[in-house]
């Protein structure tokens, strides 16, 4: 085995597998010590292989090393006691918890435990990235645009919470399962959005977050086959398909209309489509169903002019019924405007206030400007676009707004 044959992300993926399996034995209250053991083993591996040849099965080598390291650390720890009772139902030996089938179940146990109802969603994400996905504190800080100290403190708080207010290291059943899987879905979706939506971040890390969210969703889907998970997967696939095309060479956002469709990943579009087929085999449609349907309509239309605005309006109306957010309402107004129903759009946008779109206030004014323009209220349109220009930060968006502004001014002259 040569160095370039080491499997992609082997260490990162092994990290979560090892941590979850050791947690099955030693209990969630010992998470910190467990993570130390895993981290330590990886560090030792890199030093060891400076002057040894790589084993044929690096994965097996790492697992053996981490088992030994964990036993060692727990032996040394002053709090040495019988750990096999701390882990909840049934004692399992080291070799049992490291069997392939058990590893998968343990990963899900860890994921559901991290999505502890007592933790904030943002904290759950940080926690999951560290303990489940094997990101370092520096990487998490970079990916979520947070201070390193901030990340450290969040992790300490989360671990303490699990010590003070322990929940069983297992996937809940019955009604509790339905409640918790909602939390897990939301955490995965937010993780995805962190990777997908920001343009200011390092593009490699951004792709890693997107890939990690898809990996977690896939793990969940394989095990539980929930329709809602399929809808979430479809949604993420449809969005992710556009990841390469939505940022220009200078790192600026490109609007959907101007994206180069040749740069979309049609394999992901197809995957999303397959997930969608499974997602709709139910009577209960969730926000993810409608959001996936919307994202799907955008990527499956052959070009921007082929987009079916009527369908989109219908999806948004349903979505707002179960998940009403200012941004969804603004989007509905955009759709109605696009399908030449600017009166309706004006009514829709009047239901929200610009301040509700924190950080995106300029969008409210830009959309309202276009609606007023279509309704031939040129002065109102001019006032709105001036407002938007005063608020916009992003350079490429500013450029687009300026062009619109010129159009409106010439509209005033010719009216």
């Amino acid at each position: 085995m040569t160095s370039d044959k080491i499997i992609d992300h082997l260490f990162r993926h092994e990290y979560g597998k090892m941590v979850s399996s050791l947690t099955r034995i030693y209990g969630i209250q010992n998470l910190e010590l467990i993570e130390d053991a895993v981290q330590d083993t990886f560090k030792k591996a890199v030093l060891y292989f400076r002057n040894h040849s790589l084993p044929d099965n690096l994965q097996a080598w790492l697992r053996t090393a981490v088992k030994n390291r964990a036993i060692d650390l727990f032996r040394k720890a002053a709090t040495h006691k019988k750990y096999d009772q701390a882990s909840g139902p049934g004692f399992m030996s080291m070799s049992e918890v490291f069997s392939d089938h058990e590893i998968e179940d343990n990963q899900l146990r860890l994921l559901f435990t991290i999505c502890h109802p007592g933790l904030k969603t943002k904290d759950q994400i940080i926690f999951a990235l560290k303990s489940f996905s094997g990101f370092s504190i520096t990487e998490i800080a970079g990916a979520l645009l947070l201070d390193k100290e901030n990340v450290k403190k969040t992790l300490q708080r989360a671990r303490k919470k699990l010590q003070r207010d322990p929940i069983a290291f297992q996937v809940p059943t019955g009604a509790a399962f339905n409640e918790r899987i909602d939390v897990v879905h939301l955490a995965i979706y937010l993780l995805f959005n962190e990777g997908f939506h920001s343009s200011g971040k390092d593009s490699l890390i951004r792709k890693d977050l997107v890939a990690e969210a898809l990996r977690l969703g896939g793990l969940l889907l394989d095990k539980f086959k929930e329709h809602e998970t399929s809808a979430l997967m479809a949604l993420m696939c449809f969005h992710a398909a556009r990841l390469n095309a939505k940022i220009d060479d200078e790192g600026n956002l490109i609007k959907l209309k101007y994206q180069d469709r040749k740069r979309w990943n049609y394999q992901l579009v197809w995957k999303g489509h397959l997930h969608m087929e499974h997602a709709v085999e139910t009577k209960i449609f969730t926000r993810f169903h409608y959001e996936a349907a919307i994202a799907g309509e955008y990527v499956m239309a052959e070009n921007f002019d082929q987009i079916n605005w009527r369908k989109l309006e219908n999806y948004y109306t349903h979505l707002i019924r179960i998940h009403s957010t200012p941004l969804n309402i603004l989007n509905l107004a955009v759709i109605q405007h696009q399908s030449m129903e600017s009166d309706k759009a004006l009514k829709t946008i009047s239901k929200i206030q610009p301040f509700q779109l924190k950080g995106k206030e300029h969008l409210y004014h830009a959309v309202l400007a276009e609606i007023q323009m279509a309704l031939q209220n040129y002065e109102a349109a001019q006032a709105e676009i001036e407002h938007a220009l005063a608020l916009v930060q992003n350079q490429s968006e500013r450029k687009l707004l300026t062009e619109n502004y010129e159009n409106i001014k010439s509209g005033i002259v010719t009216k």
């Binding site: 040569t2 160095s3 370039d4 080491i6 992300h9 082997l10 260490f11 990162r12 092994e14 990290y15 981290q39 330590d40 990886f42 560090k43 591996a45 890199v46 030093l47 060891y48 292989f49 400076r50 002057n51 790589l54 094997g134 990101f135 370092s136 504190i137 520096t138 990487e139 890693d208």
Partner: protein, 118 residues
């Protein structure tokens, strides 16, 4: 043929040093392995080991004991190799492949003193 020691200086990889992630550690491993393999093929490796962080220093007539450089210190010695080379220039050429320059780490190349005929 002369012998040279390459001493590696830079913070520890662990959480109290550079805080490398699993992903980064894997990358490092690949790079170190490739370098070692290259040197082995050339048949120039005489020996070498990696060192733990958190050592002790003993100094002066009173044998004062202090902690070694911290894991985060740029002066921390992380390991060494002894290689054979024709000249300092050639040894420095070998040291060009040291994998951790991008992390800000340093290699010190020193000729091993030989006492032939003593």
């Amino acid at each position: 043929m002369k012998e040279y020691m390459m001493v590696f200086l830079g913070p520890d990889y662990g959480e109290d040093g550079m805080g490398l992630s699993a992903e980064q550690i894997q990358q490092r491993m690949g790079k170190w392995f490739a370098w070692h393999e290259k040197m082995e093929k050339q048949g120039i490796v005489k020996g070498g080991e990696a060192l733990h962080a958190h050592g002790k220093r003993i100094s002066g007539p009173d044998r004062i004991v202090t902690d070694g450089p911290s894991a985060a210190s740029k002066e921390l010695i992380g390991g060494y190799y002894v290689i054979t080379a024709e000249s300092m220039e050639e040894a420095m050429k070998v040291a060009e492949d040291f994998p951790d320059y991008d992390l800000g780490s340093t290699v010190e190349v020193r000729e091993v003193m030989k006492f032939e005929g003593m």
